[in-house]
Symmetry: C2
Subunit: 201 residues, 2 copies
Protein backbone atom coordinates (compact mmCIF):
# COMPACT_ATOMS: atom_id res chain seq x y z
CA UNK A 1 0.00 0.00 0.00
CA UNK A 2 3.01 2.28 0.06
CA UNK A 3 2.44 3.22 3.63
CA UNK A 4 5.77 2.23 5.01
CA UNK A 5 8.34 4.81 5.81
CA UNK A 6 11.37 3.63 3.93
CA UNK A 7 9.71 3.85 0.55
CA UNK A 8 9.43 7.58 1.00
CA UNK A 9 12.78 8.48 2.36
CA UNK A 10 15.23 10.28 0.16
CA UNK A 11 18.45 8.49 -0.64
CA UNK A 12 20.24 11.08 1.45
CA UNK A 13 18.35 10.13 4.55
CA UNK A 14 18.46 6.47 3.75
CA UNK A 15 22.20 6.65 3.44
CA UNK A 16 22.45 8.10 6.93
CA UNK A 17 20.40 5.35 8.50
CA UNK A 18 21.96 3.20 11.17
CA UNK A 19 20.86 -0.33 12.01
CA UNK A 20 20.91 -1.64 15.49
CA UNK A 21 20.17 -4.95 17.14
CA UNK A 22 18.24 -5.10 20.37
CA UNK A 23 18.27 -8.36 22.34
CA UNK A 24 14.94 -9.45 23.76
CA UNK A 25 14.19 -7.61 26.97
CA UNK A 26 16.71 -4.85 26.36
CA UNK A 27 15.61 -1.28 25.87
CA UNK A 28 16.34 0.88 22.89
CA UNK A 29 15.72 4.11 24.72
CA UNK A 30 14.22 5.19 28.00
CA UNK A 31 11.91 7.95 29.07
CA UNK A 32 13.91 11.13 29.51
CA UNK A 33 16.56 10.24 26.94
CA UNK A 34 17.16 12.81 24.26
CA UNK A 35 15.42 11.92 21.02
CA UNK A 36 17.73 10.92 18.23
CA UNK A 37 15.41 10.12 15.37
CA UNK A 38 12.84 7.94 13.81
CA UNK A 39 13.10 4.19 14.15
CA UNK A 40 11.85 1.59 11.76
CA UNK A 41 11.46 -1.95 13.01
CA UNK A 42 13.13 -4.32 10.57
CA UNK A 43 12.45 -7.54 12.40
CA UNK A 44 11.14 -8.68 15.74
CA UNK A 45 8.82 -6.66 17.92
CA UNK A 46 9.42 -3.57 20.01
CA UNK A 47 7.02 -2.20 22.55
CA UNK A 48 6.62 1.27 24.00
CA UNK A 49 5.92 1.07 27.67
CA UNK A 50 5.30 3.25 30.65
CA UNK A 51 5.56 2.14 34.25
CA UNK A 52 3.38 3.07 37.17
CA UNK A 53 4.80 3.44 40.66
CA UNK A 54 4.12 -0.16 41.46
CA UNK A 55 6.41 -1.19 38.66
CA UNK A 56 3.69 -2.65 36.50
CA UNK A 57 4.12 -1.80 32.89
CA UNK A 58 1.48 -0.52 30.52
CA UNK A 59 2.07 -1.17 26.87
CA UNK A 60 1.40 2.00 24.94
CA UNK A 61 2.16 0.52 21.60
CA UNK A 62 3.85 -2.40 19.99
CA UNK A 63 5.57 -2.30 16.65
CA UNK A 64 6.53 -5.17 14.41
CA UNK A 65 8.49 -5.39 11.20
CA UNK A 66 7.63 -2.49 8.94
CA UNK A 67 6.19 -0.30 11.67
CA UNK A 68 7.80 2.89 12.77
CA UNK A 69 8.54 3.90 16.28
CA UNK A 70 8.76 7.26 17.92
CA UNK A 71 7.38 9.68 15.42
CA UNK A 72 7.45 11.76 18.56
CA UNK A 73 11.13 12.18 18.03
CA UNK A 74 10.38 14.50 15.15
CA UNK A 75 9.25 17.26 17.42
CA UNK A 76 9.92 16.32 21.03
CA UNK A 77 13.33 16.71 22.61
CA UNK A 78 13.07 13.77 24.99
CA UNK A 79 11.22 10.46 24.96
CA UNK A 80 8.25 10.10 27.25
CA UNK A 81 8.28 6.33 27.46
CA UNK A 82 10.61 3.35 27.18
CA UNK A 83 11.11 1.27 24.06
CA UNK A 84 11.90 -2.32 24.89
CA UNK A 85 12.37 -5.34 22.69
CA UNK A 86 9.68 -7.96 23.11
CA UNK A 87 11.59 -10.35 20.93
CA UNK A 88 15.09 -10.06 19.61
CA UNK A 89 14.72 -7.16 17.22
CA UNK A 90 16.58 -5.21 14.58
CA UNK A 91 15.76 -1.55 14.14
CA UNK A 92 16.90 1.14 11.76
CA UNK A 93 17.46 4.65 12.96
CA UNK A 94 16.89 7.61 10.66
CA UNK A 95 18.63 10.46 12.47
CA UNK A 96 16.40 13.34 13.40
CA UNK A 97 18.82 15.97 12.20
CA UNK A 98 19.04 14.45 8.76
CA UNK A 99 15.30 14.11 8.49
CA UNK A 100 14.55 17.64 9.62
CA UNK A 101 17.26 19.14 7.45
CA UNK A 102 15.96 17.22 4.48
CA UNK A 103 12.41 18.28 5.19
CA UNK A 104 13.51 21.89 5.26
CA UNK A 105 15.71 21.71 2.23
CA UNK A 106 13.68 19.65 -0.15
CA UNK A 107 10.01 20.64 -0.51
CA UNK A 108 9.44 17.64 -2.71
CA UNK A 109 10.71 15.30 -0.04
CA UNK A 110 8.62 17.13 2.52
CA UNK A 111 5.61 16.62 0.31
CA UNK A 112 6.32 12.91 -0.05
CA UNK A 113 6.71 12.62 3.65
CA UNK A 114 3.45 14.44 4.23
CA UNK A 115 1.66 12.21 1.76
CA UNK A 116 3.01 9.17 3.54
CA UNK A 117 1.84 10.44 6.89
CA UNK A 118 -1.57 11.31 5.46
CA UNK A 119 -1.86 7.79 4.13
CA UNK A 120 -0.92 6.40 7.49
CA UNK A 121 -3.56 8.52 9.16
CA UNK A 122 -6.20 7.29 6.73
CA UNK A 123 -5.17 3.70 7.13
CA UNK A 124 -5.16 3.92 10.89
CA UNK A 125 -8.55 5.62 10.92
CA UNK A 126 -9.98 2.87 8.83
CA UNK A 127 -8.59 0.20 11.09
CA UNK A 128 -9.86 2.00 14.16
CA UNK A 129 -13.26 2.26 12.55
CA UNK A 130 -13.18 -1.45 12.01
CA UNK A 131 -12.43 -2.12 15.63
CA UNK A 132 -15.56 -0.24 16.52
CA UNK A 133 -17.59 -2.97 14.89
CA UNK A 134 -18.45 -5.59 17.44
CA UNK A 135 -19.73 -8.43 15.29
CA UNK A 136 -16.98 -10.56 13.82
CA UNK A 137 -18.93 -10.98 10.63
CA UNK A 138 -19.44 -7.27 10.12
CA UNK A 139 -15.81 -6.69 10.88
CA UNK A 140 -14.85 -9.11 8.16
CA UNK A 141 -17.35 -7.42 5.83
CA UNK A 142 -15.74 -4.08 6.55
CA UNK A 143 -12.33 -5.48 5.81
CA UNK A 144 -13.52 -6.96 2.55
CA UNK A 145 -15.25 -3.75 1.49
CA UNK A 146 -12.18 -1.66 2.21
CA UNK A 147 -9.74 -4.03 0.58
CA UNK A 148 -11.73 -5.05 -2.44
CA UNK A 149 -9.75 -4.75 -5.65
CA UNK A 150 -10.68 -2.72 -8.67
CA UNK A 151 -13.59 -5.00 -9.55
CA UNK A 152 -15.03 -4.34 -6.12
CA UNK A 153 -15.47 -7.98 -5.28
CA UNK A 154 -12.11 -9.65 -5.10
CA UNK A 155 -9.85 -9.41 -2.10
CA UNK A 156 -6.35 -10.80 -2.21
CA UNK A 157 -5.09 -11.92 1.18
CA UNK A 158 -1.51 -10.96 1.76
CA UNK A 159 -0.44 -13.02 4.76
CA UNK A 160 -1.85 -16.00 6.58
CA UNK A 161 -5.34 -16.11 7.99
CA UNK A 162 -3.83 -15.96 11.45
CA UNK A 163 -2.22 -12.66 10.58
CA UNK A 164 -5.49 -11.39 9.25
CA UNK A 165 -7.23 -12.48 12.42
CA UNK A 166 -4.74 -10.54 14.50
CA UNK A 167 -5.21 -7.53 12.27
CA UNK A 168 -8.96 -7.72 12.67
CA UNK A 169 -8.65 -8.15 16.40
CA UNK A 170 -10.18 -11.61 16.35
CA UNK A 171 -8.85 -14.97 17.42
CA UNK A 172 -7.96 -17.12 14.46
CA UNK A 173 -10.65 -19.59 15.46
CA UNK A 174 -13.29 -16.88 15.36
CA UNK A 175 -12.10 -15.80 11.93
CA UNK A 176 -12.13 -19.35 10.55
CA UNK A 177 -15.62 -19.89 11.79
CA UNK A 178 -16.86 -16.58 10.48
CA UNK A 179 -15.40 -17.22 7.06
CA UNK A 180 -16.84 -20.74 7.08
CA UNK A 181 -20.29 -19.41 7.86
CA UNK A 182 -20.07 -16.67 5.27
CA UNK A 183 -19.03 -19.24 2.71
CA UNK A 184 -21.86 -21.55 3.72
CA UNK A 185 -24.31 -18.67 3.36
CA UNK A 186 -22.97 -17.95 -0.08
CA UNK A 187 -21.84 -14.48 0.86
CA UNK A 188 -18.25 -15.14 -0.12
CA UNK A 189 -16.23 -17.71 -1.95
CA UNK A 190 -12.66 -18.59 -1.15
CA UNK A 191 -10.36 -19.18 -4.07
CA UNK A 192 -6.83 -19.90 -2.96
CA UNK A 193 -5.42 -16.83 -1.25
CA UNK A 194 -8.35 -14.80 -2.49
CA UNK A 195 -11.85 -14.10 -1.28
CA UNK A 196 -14.56 -13.30 -3.76
CA UNK A 197 -17.64 -11.44 -2.65
CA UNK A 198 -20.87 -12.72 -4.11
CA UNK A 199 -23.76 -10.47 -4.88
CA UNK A 200 -26.53 -10.88 -2.39
CA UNK A 201 -29.76 -11.81 -4.15
Amino acid sequence: MGESIHEWLSTTVRAGAVDRTVPAGQSLFRAGDKTVGLYEVLSGTMRLVRYDRSGREAILQSASAGDTLAEASLYASTYHCDAVATTHAVVRLYPKTLLLAELNRDPKFAQSFTVMLAQQVMGLRTRLERRNIHSARDRVRHFLAVNAGADGRTVALSGTLKDLAADLGLTHEALYRTLARMTADGEIKRVGATIRLNRIV
Copy 2:
Protein backbone atom coordinates in the same frame (compact mmCIF):
# COMPACT_ATOMS: atom_id res chain seq x y z
CA MET B 1 -3.79 17.76 22.50
CA GLY B 2 -3.22 20.02 19.52
CA GLU B 3 -4.02 17.26 17.16
CA SER B 4 -6.79 18.96 15.29
CA ILE B 5 -6.18 20.33 11.88
CA HIS B 6 -7.31 23.89 12.18
CA GLU B 7 -4.80 24.75 14.87
CA TRP B 8 -2.03 24.13 12.42
CA LEU B 9 -3.30 25.81 9.35
CA SER B 10 -1.72 29.04 8.26
CA THR B 11 -3.93 32.09 8.20
CA THR B 12 -3.64 32.07 4.44
CA VAL B 13 -5.21 28.66 4.19
CA ARG B 14 -7.69 29.37 6.90
CA ALA B 15 -8.82 32.47 5.06
CA GLY B 16 -9.50 30.41 1.98
CA ALA B 17 -11.67 27.92 3.81
CA VAL B 18 -15.27 27.52 2.80
CA ASP B 19 -18.02 26.28 5.07
CA ARG B 20 -20.81 24.15 3.80
CA THR B 21 -23.95 22.68 5.25
CA VAL B 22 -24.96 19.14 4.42
CA PRO B 23 -28.51 18.04 5.27
CA ALA B 24 -28.84 14.60 6.80
CA GLY B 25 -28.73 11.92 4.14
CA GLN B 26 -27.22 14.17 1.49
CA SER B 27 -23.78 13.52 0.12
CA LEU B 28 -20.85 15.88 0.17
CA PHE B 29 -19.02 14.13 -2.62
CA ARG B 30 -19.28 10.87 -4.47
CA ALA B 31 -16.81 8.30 -5.67
CA GLY B 32 -15.28 9.45 -8.91
CA ASP B 33 -15.66 13.16 -8.19
CA LYS B 34 -12.53 15.21 -8.50
CA THR B 35 -10.96 15.95 -5.14
CA VAL B 36 -11.20 19.53 -4.03
CA GLY B 37 -9.51 19.55 -0.69
CA LEU B 38 -9.46 18.61 2.94
CA TYR B 39 -12.68 18.72 4.94
CA GLU B 40 -13.02 19.33 8.62
CA VAL B 41 -16.28 18.39 10.28
CA LEU B 42 -17.51 21.31 12.35
CA SER B 43 -20.70 19.74 13.63
CA GLY B 44 -22.78 16.66 13.04
CA THR B 45 -21.44 13.43 11.65
CA MET B 46 -20.33 12.46 8.19
CA ARG B 47 -19.63 8.96 7.04
CA LEU B 48 -17.51 7.60 4.22
CA VAL B 49 -19.27 4.77 2.51
CA ARG B 50 -18.86 2.35 -0.31
CA TYR B 51 -21.65 0.35 -1.89
CA ASP B 52 -21.58 -3.18 -3.11
CA ARG B 53 -23.55 -4.30 -6.15
CA SER B 54 -26.52 -5.22 -4.03
CA GLY B 55 -26.73 -1.65 -2.85
CA ARG B 56 -25.80 -2.36 0.70
CA GLU B 57 -23.48 0.21 2.12
CA ALA B 58 -20.32 -0.41 4.06
CA ILE B 59 -19.20 2.37 6.35
CA LEU B 60 -15.50 2.91 5.85
CA GLN B 61 -15.22 5.65 8.39
CA SER B 62 -17.31 8.08 10.32
CA ALA B 63 -16.19 11.53 11.35
CA SER B 64 -17.66 13.80 13.98
CA ALA B 65 -16.94 17.34 15.02
CA GLY B 66 -13.21 18.00 14.99
CA ASP B 67 -12.36 15.09 12.74
CA THR B 68 -11.02 15.54 9.27
CA LEU B 69 -12.26 13.85 6.18
CA ALA B 70 -10.57 12.89 3.00
CA GLU B 71 -6.90 13.33 3.66
CA ALA B 72 -6.90 11.33 0.46
CA SER B 73 -7.64 14.52 -1.36
CA LEU B 74 -4.09 15.61 -0.70
CA TYR B 75 -2.67 13.22 -3.20
CA ALA B 76 -5.48 11.51 -5.08
CA SER B 77 -7.24 13.14 -7.99
CA THR B 78 -10.64 11.56 -7.44
CA TYR B 79 -12.52 10.25 -4.43
CA HIS B 80 -12.86 6.52 -4.06
CA CYS B 81 -15.92 6.56 -1.85
CA ASP B 82 -18.97 8.64 -0.99
CA ALA B 83 -19.20 11.06 1.90
CA VAL B 84 -22.71 11.28 3.24
CA ALA B 85 -24.14 13.13 6.20
CA THR B 86 -25.40 10.86 8.95
CA THR B 87 -26.89 13.81 10.77
CA HIS B 88 -27.29 17.36 9.58
CA ALA B 89 -23.68 18.46 9.38
CA VAL B 90 -21.52 21.49 8.78
CA VAL B 91 -18.14 21.00 7.16
CA ARG B 92 -15.26 23.29 6.32
CA LEU B 93 -13.34 22.85 3.13
CA TYR B 94 -9.67 23.75 2.94
CA PRO B 95 -9.03 23.86 -0.81
CA LYS B 96 -6.41 21.46 -2.03
CA THR B 97 -4.70 24.01 -4.24
CA LEU B 98 -4.24 26.42 -1.37
CA LEU B 99 -2.93 23.71 0.91
CA LEU B 100 -0.48 22.31 -1.59
CA ALA B 101 0.73 25.75 -2.64
CA GLU B 102 1.24 26.69 0.97
CA LEU B 103 3.06 23.47 1.70
CA ASN B 104 5.39 24.17 -1.19
CA ARG B 105 5.94 27.80 -0.42
CA ASP B 106 6.32 27.82 3.31
CA PRO B 107 8.66 25.19 4.78
CA LYS B 108 7.69 26.25 8.25
CA PHE B 109 4.07 25.60 7.53
CA ALA B 110 4.96 22.30 5.93
CA GLN B 111 6.83 21.40 9.09
CA SER B 112 3.88 22.29 11.30
CA PHE B 113 1.63 20.27 9.11
CA THR B 114 3.98 17.31 9.28
CA VAL B 115 4.19 17.57 13.03
CA MET B 116 0.43 17.59 13.26
CA LEU B 117 0.16 14.51 11.09
CA ALA B 118 2.86 12.75 13.08
CA GLN B 119 0.93 13.49 16.25
CA GLN B 120 -2.21 12.14 14.69
CA VAL B 121 -0.41 8.98 13.70
CA MET B 122 0.87 8.52 17.22
CA GLY B 123 -2.50 9.17 18.76
CA LEU B 124 -4.25 6.81 16.41
CA ARG B 125 -1.66 4.11 17.01
CA THR B 126 -2.16 4.39 20.71
CA ARG B 127 -5.90 4.13 20.37
CA LEU B 128 -5.58 1.16 18.08
CA GLU B 129 -3.24 -0.47 20.54
CA ARG B 130 -5.85 0.03 23.19
CA ARG B 131 -8.48 -1.69 21.12
CA ASN B 132 -6.26 -4.72 20.97
CA ILE B 133 -6.73 -5.19 24.68
CA HIS B 134 -9.68 -7.45 25.28
CA SER B 135 -10.31 -6.99 28.97
CA ALA B 136 -12.32 -3.91 29.79
CA ARG B 137 -10.30 -3.34 32.91
CA ASP B 138 -6.97 -3.48 31.14
CA ARG B 139 -8.32 -1.18 28.48
CA VAL B 140 -9.22 1.34 31.13
CA ARG B 141 -5.79 0.87 32.69
CA HIS B 142 -4.19 1.57 29.35
CA PHE B 143 -6.22 4.70 28.94
CA LEU B 144 -5.28 5.90 32.40
CA ALA B 145 -1.59 5.16 31.87
CA VAL B 146 -1.53 7.01 28.58
CA ASN B 147 -3.52 9.99 29.80
CA ALA B 148 -2.02 10.41 33.22
CA GLY B 149 -0.97 13.96 33.95
CA ALA B 150 2.48 15.14 34.90
CA ASP B 151 2.28 13.53 38.33
CA GLY B 152 1.65 10.19 36.65
CA ARG B 153 -1.43 9.40 38.64
CA THR B 154 -4.12 11.91 37.91
CA VAL B 155 -6.32 11.74 34.84
CA ALA B 156 -8.71 14.54 34.02
CA LEU B 157 -11.75 13.38 32.10
CA SER B 158 -12.69 15.74 29.35
CA GLY B 159 -16.19 14.73 28.33
CA THR B 160 -18.84 12.51 29.84
CA LEU B 161 -18.27 8.93 30.82
CA LYS B 162 -20.45 7.90 27.93
CA ASP B 163 -18.09 9.64 25.55
CA LEU B 164 -15.17 7.92 27.19
CA ALA B 165 -16.91 4.58 26.89
CA ALA B 166 -17.41 5.13 23.17
CA ASP B 167 -13.78 6.13 22.84
CA LEU B 168 -12.67 2.98 24.60
CA GLY B 169 -14.99 0.85 22.52
CA LEU B 170 -17.06 -0.24 25.49
CA THR B 171 -20.71 0.19 26.29
CA HIS B 172 -21.25 2.80 28.96
CA GLU B 173 -22.61 0.14 31.26
CA ALA B 174 -19.44 -1.89 30.96
CA LEU B 175 -17.36 1.19 31.72
CA TYR B 176 -19.42 2.11 34.79
CA ARG B 177 -19.10 -1.38 36.14
CA THR B 178 -15.39 -1.54 35.48
CA LEU B 179 -14.76 1.79 37.17
CA ALA B 180 -16.93 0.73 40.09
CA ARG B 181 -14.95 -2.45 40.51
CA MET B 182 -11.62 -0.68 40.24
CA THR B 183 -12.75 1.81 42.84
CA ALA B 184 -13.95 -0.97 45.13
CA ASP B 185 -10.58 -2.66 44.75
CA GLY B 186 -8.83 0.55 45.67
CA GLU B 187 -7.03 0.74 42.34
CA ILE B 188 -8.47 4.14 41.53
CA LYS B 189 -10.35 6.91 43.22
CA ARG B 190 -12.81 9.18 41.49
CA VAL B 191 -12.73 12.82 42.45
CA GLY B 192 -15.21 14.85 40.45
CA ALA B 193 -14.22 14.77 36.79
CA THR B 194 -10.90 13.27 37.72
CA ILE B 195 -9.58 9.80 38.33
CA ARG B 196 -6.66 9.27 40.65
CA LEU B 197 -4.57 6.15 40.38
CA ASN B 198 -3.57 4.60 43.66
CA ARG B 199 -0.32 2.82 44.13
CA ILE B 200 -0.80 -0.92 44.32
CA VAL B 201 0.64 -2.24 47.57
